[in-house]
């Protein structure tokens, strides 16, 4: 094990495998330079440990010092006492360990099951250490940012990321959207999955805007061949000069009673009203929605309601809700073009689809459309996957569905009924996973939350949100203190399936000309060279 370029911090003085280890800082290391979330390595006797600083505290050897503090205006006094009579301690949570022998070196880092011996040296992790844990940028991994206060590139395995559902959480304005764009670009570039993005704020397709009001390029501008922009609101797209590939229209007959169940809260429907929907569906078949809307306040209607055992006020409640849906301009009685077919067609070709909502930013439209399309796409995927399993044919390319305001789809009340709840729970069986973006993770069903493999969280300050994001994670209290100390912008904690250990990082820059250039490697040049040399 080489010791090059490492900065020694101190030695291990106590610890336990459940609570992490205490490190006494050397006098040469200033306690003020230590920040929660930084990476350290511990050189044990037989193995090496990787851990994260989760707490920084102060200690004194003699309590008299705290009662009669020395005159620290005297620099000599201050210098002598620093690190000796007064010292800093770090709390480090070890996450991974790597053995010293050749076999374990080949095996790579393993989860930690013990603690380093007394007085093991603790160093700041070097760039090589980070690389040995997270790997470097290559065919499978893409660069997402830099670990806190480090220059090293932190890379994420695209395949692992899409293998399970992932979540991006954080208060509004912390950088979720900017970072999600990078994640999408990463999976897109590595070609491990196709994305379907329900883009409520029209931020991902053509261009988005930064907090300062500057415009930033989004997926389609960077990768015109591999991204298709679908829109619900052609007019808005045209005004924004977005070249769209398809205008989505939803037919009345495509709306199912399950969609209404999901919209119960948004449309302010009562429980019996939702029940009534199912009865209407049974009564009128596929065209239940226009048929229900068309029912006038007549004796015949009353008779029908009586027969169906629906109370009149319930019916009125339902009709009001359905009228809201009926007023959505993209809903039409008959739609000839099959939106789902088009989306699947693009996805099959490896083209990522961004569905812009344009002006329809209310949740009714978003929830309705997202749920409706996803349900049918998922059904198709399941069919194909089952065929693939039965006939040993090629499996469909993994699909990642990105939804914003995820708690609207996945709250405990509806998670069991919506397709998103199903996808989150059944996970990767059918090669479809979710990428949920939310600012109120506490609103998401616990069961769904526990199935989210990789979580990336920006600053959260609500206790319940923090608890729900960290639920079920080992070393929760340590991570909690890290999470609470994140900067309000451009700092995030990533943990879970796609990373070997939690890490606080600064997402890579996005929005400048240079950043775009970094995202688009000179593929043409490489191609040219390949062609030239055959």
């Amino acid at each position: 094990m080489t010791q090059e370029n490492t900065q020694r911090l101190g030695i291990v003085i106590s610890g336990s495998s459940s609570k992490g280890v205490e490190v006494k800082l050397d006098s040469s290391a200033s306690v003020e330079d230590m920040v929660v979330g930084r990476y350290v390595t511990i050189e044990g006797q037989k193995r090496r440990f990787f851990g994260m600083i989760t707490d920084v505290s102060l200690g004194v050897t003699d309590q008299k010092l705290t009662l009669a503090p020395p005159d620290v205006s005297d620099p000599f006094m201050a210098e002598v006492l620093a690190g000796t009579a007064t010292y800093g301690t770090l709390h480090v949570s070890p996450y991974l360990t790597i053995g010293g022998d050749v076999a374990s070196l080949l095996q790579g880092p393993q989860p930690v099951k013990t603690v380093p011996a007394h007085f093991s040296t603790v160093n700041l992790a070097s760039d090589q250490d980070i690389e040995s844990v997270f790997g470097n940028e290559n065919k499978e991994r893409f660069w997402i940012g830099n670990p806190l206060d480090m220059e090293t590139k932190l890379c994420l395995d695209a395949e692992k990321l899409v293998e399970r559902s992932s979540g991006v959480f954080g208060k509004s304005g912390t950088g979720k959207t900017f970072f999600t764009r990078q994640l999408l670009i990463g999976t897109l570039q590595k070609g491990k999955a196709v994305n379907l993005i329900f883009d409520m704020q029209s931020e991902y397709g053509w261009e988005g805007s930064s907090e300062q009001g500057l415009k930033v390029k989004a997926l389609k501008q960077l990768f015109p061949d591999r991204v298709a922009v679908f829109t619900l609101d052609e007019e808005s797209s045209r005004r924004r000069r977005v070249s769209t590939d398809f205008v989505v229209r939803i037919g009345y007959d495509e709306i199912e009673p399950e969609d209404m169940a999901l919209l119960r809260q948004t449309l302010n429907l009562t429980e019996p009203a939702v029940e009534a929907v199912y009865q209407m569906r049974r009564r009128f078949g596929r065209n239940w929605l226009p048929a229900t809307l068309a029912l006038k306040d007549s004796d015949e209607t009353k008779e029908l309601l009586n027969r169906l055992n629906i109370h009149e006020s319930t019916f009125q409640n339902l009709q009001r809700g359905l009228a809201t849906i009926g007023r959505l301009p993209f809903i039409e009685p008959h739609v000839s073009a099959d939106a789902v077919g088009h989306i699947l067609d693009h996805l099959d070709r490896g083209v990522n689809v961004v569905l812009e909502f344009g002006r329809y930013k209310d949740f009714t439209a978003y929830i309705l459309v997202a749920n409706l399309l996803t349900r049918r796409i998922y059904a198709q995927y399941r069919e194909r996957m089952e065929t693939a399993m039965g006939e040993d044919a090629a499996r469909p390319i993994p699909l990642v569905i990105t939804i914003e305001e995820a708690h609207r789809f996945l709250n405990p009340g509806v998670a069991s009924q919506t397709i998103f709840g199903t996808i989150a729970r059944e996970m990767r069986k059918y090669n479809v996973t979710l990428m949920v973006i939310d600012q109120r993770p506490s609103g998401i069903d616990e069961e769904v939350m526990s199935q989210i493999g990789t979580k990336i969280t920006f600053l959260l300050d609500n206790e319940r949100d923090i608890d729900s994001v960290l639920a079920g994670v080992s070393g929760k209290s340590e991570l909690k203190s890290v999470l609470a100390k994140l900067a309000s912008k451009q700092q995030a904690l990533i943990f879970g399936h796609a990373v070997p250990m939690p890490v606080v990082f600064q997402p890579r820059e996005y929005g400048s000309a240079q950043s775009y250039k970094d995202f688009i490697p000179d593929e043409h040049i490489e191609k040219d060279i390949e062609e030239l040399w055959g």
Partner: protein, 194 residues
């Protein structure tokens, strides 16, 4: 090498040396050594006395009719031969077979061994390790440990170009040794700061 005296009384932990000239004892806290080859003893001066040659005969005041103090010695030159200067030194280490040890030697110094003041190079070499501080702290002496340690460190620091760095390093070592006795530490640090 500057010869400063001759051992006249010795024990395992310290020795008494008599100076050849009156009042010529090395300063408090300075590092001295004896050479009983192959063993060299290093010691730190912790006390100096000047007394009458004969224990029963005390000096008397003589300056009543003299203009200055120096005149007393000039008019009674025999005084220089009737008084003696001695110093006590605490053994803090030894050198055997070219190797330096910061702990007590196997044998005490021999009577009539010559005592030398250590050269700056030797002081530097000896003070590479602060292990001797522990001996100074833990010995019961007529001089308080704080006074002796600070005097010793002040003396040693003079041979260093970067006195400050040396004193800080020594201070840190003391802070560890005196971790439970902050008041003592504070007293020493107050005496060695520049």
């Amino acid at each position: 090498m500057q010869r400063v005296g001759e051992v006249i009384e010795a024990s395992t932990t310290d020795f008494v040396a008599q100076c050849y000239e009156l009042y010529q004892s090395p300063p408090l806290g300075s590092l001295v050594k004896t050479r009983d080859l192959p063993l060299e003893l290093y010691a730190i001066v912790y006390n100096a006395t000047t007394t009458s040659l004969e224990p029963g005969r005390r000096p008397i005041a003589r300056g009543k009719d003299e203009a200055g103090e120096e005149e007393i010695y000039r008019s009674s030159p025999q005084l220089l031969k009737l008084l003696k200067s001695e110093f006590n030194a605490l053994v803090v280490g030894h050198r055997q077979n070219e190797k330096l040890y910061h702990y007590l030697p196997p044998n005490p110094a021999r009577i009539h061994s010559f005592v030398y003041l250590c050269s700056p190079d030797e002081v530097k070499e000896f003070s590479q390790s602060f292990d001797f501080l522990n001996i100074l702290i833990n010995t019961n002496l007529p001089v308080s440990a704080e006074e002796l340690i600070s005097a010793c460190l002040r003396q040693m620091s003079q041979v260093y170009e970067d006195r400050h760095a040396f004193l800080v390093a020594a201070g840190k070592e003391l802070a560890i040794l005196l971790s439970g006795q902050f008041n003592q530490l504070k007293a020493i640090l107050g005496r060695i700061r520049e």
